[in-house]
Amino acid sequence: MLENGSDESVVRWGDNGDSFVVLENEKFTKHILPKHFKHSNFASFVRQLNKYDFHKVRHNNEENGQSPYGAGAWEFKHPDFKANNKDALDNIRRKAPAPRKPAATVEDVNFSSQQLDLMNSQLVATQTQLQQLQDRYNELTIHHSMMIQEVIGMQKTIVNHEHVMQSVMQFLHNLDAQRRRDSRMGHPFGGQAQNGNVDAQNAQVTPEDDVPASPLQHAAKLLSETNADVMLNPRNLEHMNEITMRMNGTLTTPPPEFLRARPASRTGGPGSAGSSASVRMGDLDNLVYPVGQTQGIDPMYSEHINNIPYALPSKPNEPIVPDARKKSAHVDPGWIRPPQILLVEDDPTCRRIGGKFLYAFHCSIDSALDGLEAVNKMNAGSKYDLILMDIIMPNLDGVSACHLIRQFDNTPIIAMTSNIRSDDIAMYFQHGMNDVLPKPFTKEGLLLILDKHLAHLKKPVADGMGAPQPLAAARQVLKEEDSPAKSPATASNWNSPNNMPGVSPVGTNMTEEQYIQAVQASQAGHPNAYAMNHMQANMQYGTSPQMQLQARQQQQAAHAAQAAQAAQAAQAAQAQAAQAAQVAGHRRQASDISGGDDMNNAAKRQQMYGAPQLQPQGMNPMQRPR
């Protein structure tokens, strides 16, 4: 455009031919710029020039400080921008944006504003990233605490299993003693001089009577070696869990089984769990096993069921409270944990009766005297599963309180009122209430509301196989453990297969699998510990359904095959043989428990316990490097 002389009055070469001059800023902007650029903005043009390393020529040294081309003229210079020297134009390039020249002049304000935009957008992007990271972190935190819960649950299940095994051992010991006594009794000399001739009798007792004792002792020894209470140190996890809870301010109400477990147990690892076990052992010791073909427990006679030294699975939910003489009033709806209920009621009579009903339904109750107190409680971060809200109250009525609570919380709120005209009810719902409990409320009405709105806290229906919530099932087991009058291990595992919440649901298979793998991984560096843990895993599977067993054994067979390649052939064969024995052992376990009088099984039981011990020897070389 400088070559074109028509615009000379507006823009032309400088006097020396090494610069160009914009003489009339306004005309240049309006008429010439649009011809060459997509804009008509002089500032943009200047900015562009700056980018290409053109610089405004200053005339400070002139006497009057005025440009020789006039007051409004802008002169721009570039070392390579010369009249009649087009070759040098190639050297005029856009500056690299990174090294900003310190000599940023007034014009650079425009330039830096662009930079600022860039910075801003980068900042926003960074913030978004940060936000995403934060979200991810929160998510992971939640997952982490869930995992810890899960693992703690698994550990407790394992401990329970351990206790079952110990109970079974005790039972078998008794049987063993019984058997030997019987055989002595049947012996020609036995009946007369039982005490005097003990030694002689023992000498005469055939070796096959002595044999059963040693596998039992062997198994007992193994059990004591692999005490889950010692192996799995739950304190670390619970500590971790506690920290997580504390850090996660939103979870102000720790899961109740955690609360319950904390003060009661684990202070001494094996000691505490062992103490509960020993109590049970003591109970078992005190039990009398009547002599007879069926050991006093004949499944054909229902009255004999009382002779079974274990809690009956048929009534797992009935609370055993010594002074609850009138049980009919205390209905247990079967919560997995006591629901937290906030009772908002100004009338002391209603409050006390409502509270009493809720107590009878095994709910944990907090009360507020009016809407204001309720809102304050909610605002302070208290978490409830359900809020029962009176409507007409002093200070703040129930509808307003509900409206306020709904601004920040979604806990179900039930209106408790005698005003149950349809327009009233419509208003309650409009303000965020979830249901209406007409006053004067009845126990049935209250229970119905609880059932309806707290269904997620109900124990899964105890038809076993289909139980959909492994975690809930585990909690159920834990809850039962806390009932002092029952043996926890038996409650969870002595049951018929239909009532095995901890083991039977298909859903738990995955978690058990994962857990075992985790154990394997964590113990990989410690062959000894690994061997014991692995054995526990196997024992745990001893109570699992057949389907799962098969799958597991196939998997183990695969492991054994690997071992065969790596280790010596003899060792592998040993492992496989042990496995075969294990299958037999597992299959017979059920009949062992129910029948109980077949001493021949003892030998097989030895195999069963022996198997896991042998296996790791064959497998460790392969598994450790993994």
Partner: protein
Amino acid sequence: MEVPGAEDRIDQATFEQILEMDDSVDDRDFSKSIVYDFFTQADSTFDKMDSSLDAKDLKTLSELGHFLKGSSATLGLTKVQHSCEKIQHYGHKKDEAGSADITEEEALEKLKSEIAQVKKEFGDVQKVLKKFYKDES
């Protein structure tokens, strides 16, 4: 569990479920304390009703009626409950069914007689209940 002499003063089913909350038939501490607390509550409410009536404070009278209605209903004290409901309506300047409007003078007139009525109903049922709990313990 029948409350002797209660007749239509007490709704048996409602009262029964409170009695059920007692530890045993020999130990009625829970229901007894509830009922006796209600006596105290009713007495103080009646006092407030009297002073509100003197002050012609219809709104407070309605609220007091509602308050006592709730607790008497929870205990199943039917007659007291119904009287209280009327007081609640009269306080709103409605007739006893709560549908038609009445004047303030009418309301005060009706309130005066209804408060006397509710005190009588309460006295009757109080006697019955006191007797019941004395017999029990």
